[in-house]
Each structure stands twice: as C-alpha cells, then as structure tokens.
C-alpha cells in the first residue's frame, strides 16, 4: 500500500439546508488505486463524491464542513479556486452527457475548448484520449459526427475520454455504469480497472459485484456515515462490522 494518501478527508460534514447528509467522514484515499463507495440508496455516496471536487456547493443551500486535502493542500481553503481544482479532479457522471452540439472529436477536446484553447496537436490528443478510453477503433472514422450519435455505452466512454483529456490527478465517477447495458458495462469496468494504474479513481456504485470486480479499496456508507473502509478483498470476504456483512450478504439494501 502506498503510504501518502492522494485525498485525505477528515471530519467532513455535508448538508442541504438543514438536512445533514454526511456525518463526520474520515477517510484516506490512496493514490493510483480504485476506491469504490458502496451503500444503500440515499446514503450520501453521490454527495460524498461531489464534495471531493467542490461540485456539491453548486447546489443552492448546500454546505460542507471539515477538511479535504489533495496532496496535503486543503481544497476548501480560501485561496483555492474551485474552477481550477476541478481541472485536477475530473468527474464522470451517471448519465452520459456528451455536448449535443459538438462532434465526437470536439467532445474529447471539450475541456480545452471550454477553458481557453485547443493546442496544435489536437488530433494526437483526441487519438490518445480515445485510445485511453477504449473507444478509438469504434469511432476513428466518424470523429466529426455528433457525440450524441453514439450508443449509451460509447457515450459514457466518450465522457471518460473527455475527462482524461484535461489530465486530472483524480477521476471521480458517479455510478458510471448504471445507465448503460451489461456489455457496455463490462467494457467500462475494464477501462476503470486499467485507468486505475495511472489515476486515482473514486467510483460510486450501487452494485456490489461491480465494486468487488473493479476496486482495490471499498468504503461502505450508511445513513451518511462511513461504516467500514478496507481493502476490497478483505471487506467482501471478512468484513469487520456486522452492518457491512448484512449489506453485502443482501440482508437489506
């Protein structure tokens, strides 16, 4: 196990207005590994993820307390620009959302197009990102077609390509497979596993088998509290807490 964590979360609370969703989360997310967040619906998994790149605060009346450190620097410090932070911590959403007015190539370059300019070697970047997202062979002949002309699973890989183009340190994925079919899911899962070699990935999933397949570490959340966080193999084979065992054996949730 690597010694210094990529993301270090301590005493993090998150609320929507008066409704507190996360309670005092403490967690160290290791670098260049895949960490899965599992738990029943409404346990705060997605909120947790959105606190890690400061997307949570974009919701009206949403608040966060506590500290989240990226490589030792508090991302909620006054000096941190959330916009620049989000270029280092990328995000892939539940529903694939390619920009409908843009072509496949432009979608891959979206991060650059949006934030200033596309460099001269755009073609190379597109090819590299699409290969990285295991989509290149399927789309190389139609890069100028709209991103929305692809199938759901292809769109989600396009969104992953789009996210890695800006070369983030961390990739957050919010149930990236829940809106796509099983074959496409298998591909995206393989991709997540491969990307975990180079990126620090945090992936929310409601599918325990998926967490077991793709992650190195797994955190189990319930009612906004972190119940257990351990190596995936350990958590699924020999959980320390009774609640965890009840959940992974299907007694509830």
């Amino acid at each position: 196990m690597s010694s210094t964590p990529k993301l270090s979360i301590s005493e993090m609370d998150a609320s929507y207005g008066d409704h507190q969703v996360l309670h005092s989360i403490d967690m160290q997310i290791p670098a260049q590994q895949v960490t899965a967040l599992i738990g029943p619906s409404g346990c705060g998994k997605s909120t947790y993820l959105r606190c890690l790149n400061r997307m949570h605060e974009l919701t009206t009346s949403a608040t966060v307390n506590g500290t989240v450190e990226l490589d030792g620097a508090d991302i909620y410090h006054d000096d941190i620009d959330p916009v620049l932070l989000r270029r280092r911590i990328g995000m892939v959403f539940q529903k694939p959302a390619p920009f409908p007015t843009w072509s496949i190539a432009d979608n891959v370059l979206a991060g650059m197009k949006l934030t200033g300019g596309v460099p001269d070697n755009a073609d190379e970047i597109v090819e590299k990102a699409l290969k990285g997202a295991a989509l290149w062979d399927e789309v190389k002949d139609k890069l100028d077609k709209p991103g929305t002309s692809l199938s759901g699973g292809q769109q989600q890989r396009l969104c992953i390509a789009r996210a890695i183009t800006v070369e983030p340190d961390v990739l957050l994925m919010d149930e990236p497979c829940s809106a796509i079919d099983p074959v496409a899911t298998a591909r995206v899962e393989n991709l997540i596993h491969e990307l975990g070699e180079n990126y620090t990935i945090v992936v929310v999933t409601h599918n325990m088998q998926q967490a077991a397949r793709i992650s190195d570490k797994t955190a189990f959340l319930m009612m906004g509290e972190l119940v257990e966080f351990d190596d995936t193999s350990k958590l699924f084979s020999n959980p320390a807490k009774q609640q965890t065992e009840d959940y992974i054996t299907g007694k509830f949730g």
Partner: protein, 287 residues
Amino acid sequence: MMNKDQRIGGRIAEWGFRTMCLAAVIIPLLVLATLVIDVAIDGTQRLSWEFISSYPSRIAEQAGVLPALVGSLFVIAMTGLLAIPIGVAAAVYLNEYGKNSWVANIIEINIANLAGVPSVVYGLLGLGLFVRFAGMGRSVLAAACTLALLILPIVIMASREALRSVPSSLREASYGLGATKWETIRQVVLPMALPGILTGTILSISRAIGETAPLIVVGAVAYMTFLPDGLNSSFSVLPIQIYDWTTRPQAEFLINAAAGIMVLLSVMLLLNTVAILLRNKYQKRMY
C-alpha cells in the same frame, strides 16, 4: 368478459373527443381563411409593383405603401437590435445567475405581468419617456424603443424557457471539466438554447410589426412623402397606413387597405418562415 360490445360506450366517447379536437382545429382555421380570402379578393385589384413602390396620394389608385413598408422594416430592425440582446441577457441572468433568489422570483412575476399589459399603455409610456423626456421626438428611434419595451417581456420569457430546457447534466459536465460559469453559458448553454431563443424572438418581432396602437400614440405619420433617412426621422409603418386608409370616406381606399394588409401579411409570413428555417437549421445539429 372480453366482448367487444361492452366497449361500445368507450368507443363512442373516443370518437366524440376526437371530433371535438378536430373541430377546435378547423373552426379557427375557417374563420382565418375567410378573412384572408376576403382581403385577398379586394386587395389583389390594387396589389402591384407600383403599389409597393409608390408614395401615399390623395388619389386612391396612385397611392402606395413604400414609406410605410420601409418604415416598418426600419423600425422593426431597430426594435430587434434593442430588444434581443437585452432580453437574452436578462433571461441569462434570471436562469443562470439569479436562480431561486427572491429578487429573481419577483422580477419574473413582474415580467409575466408586463407581457399582459395592453400595448397602448406602452405607447403612452413611450410618449412620455422617449418622445418627450428623452427628447427623441416622434422618431424612428422613439418607436423602436417603445416596441422594444413592448416585446421585451416576451423575449425574456421565451429565452428563459429555452435556457431552462437545457439539461442540468450538461452544465455539470462542463463545470466538472473545470469550466467557469461564463464559459459554460457561452459554449454549452446558449448554443443549445439558440433554436428556442430564435423562435421566441422572431415570433415576438412579428407581433411587434403588426402593432398599431402604441405607434399612433408615439406619433407615426400616415401621410409620408419621403423615406425615413435616419434614426431621428419621422416615420410611418404599415399598420398605421392601413388604419388611415380604412378611415377615409372614399370606398376606393378600402381596396388600398386590403392590399396593404396583404403586404403586411407577406412580411410576417416571411419573418415566420425565417424563424422556422433557423430553428430547423440549429436543431439539426443535435438530437
């Protein structure tokens, strides 16, 4: 149990409802068609290139709509130039920046109310504010400002609706890539809302081109012997010209009015066609 006859009541209800809906489509269309045909029968007697390219005259056969047509196009172009940027900017503020704040809510309720204010009231406002207070006089500019105020609520509401229909998932995707709010609005939200904004604004423009009451108050002229030559020029517009002709005692001028209506309808039709073509063009880029 599954006997067809037992469903007969339902089938009659289905047929009745369908017929009712069909009637609701056909009856207004018939009324409209009657009007248009009636106007066309009178109007075609006078409608010619000469009618379009002549100045008003005391003799009905020699009178034309040129200054009114040019005036209408001029005023409407200025109205669009004023109302569209302001209206879209206001909609962007309401939908993207002021979201859910009580100020934005109050503004929105007021805008919805303003859309229902009779247009002659806007004319009085224009007379007081632009013609007199701002010293614009009875000019093209004063008319354009007045009409811009009149259609602004419609432009804002149509644009707001178009912006609202852009899925929030696209905004989030953009923020997730490290784009600022402005970058997101400019490159993701506005391009997607463009077809809706275009349709709404062009429809509001074609409403403004038919407005008569506010321009009578602001001071459009019915008898122009020259073309408006600038923003400070006095002006006429088609509805005013038509209205003037209908009030003349000589019956021949009614034929002029009918021909004028045909010109006005053609201009509107042209504008609406442009609206539909533009919408289709931009909608084709996405699905």
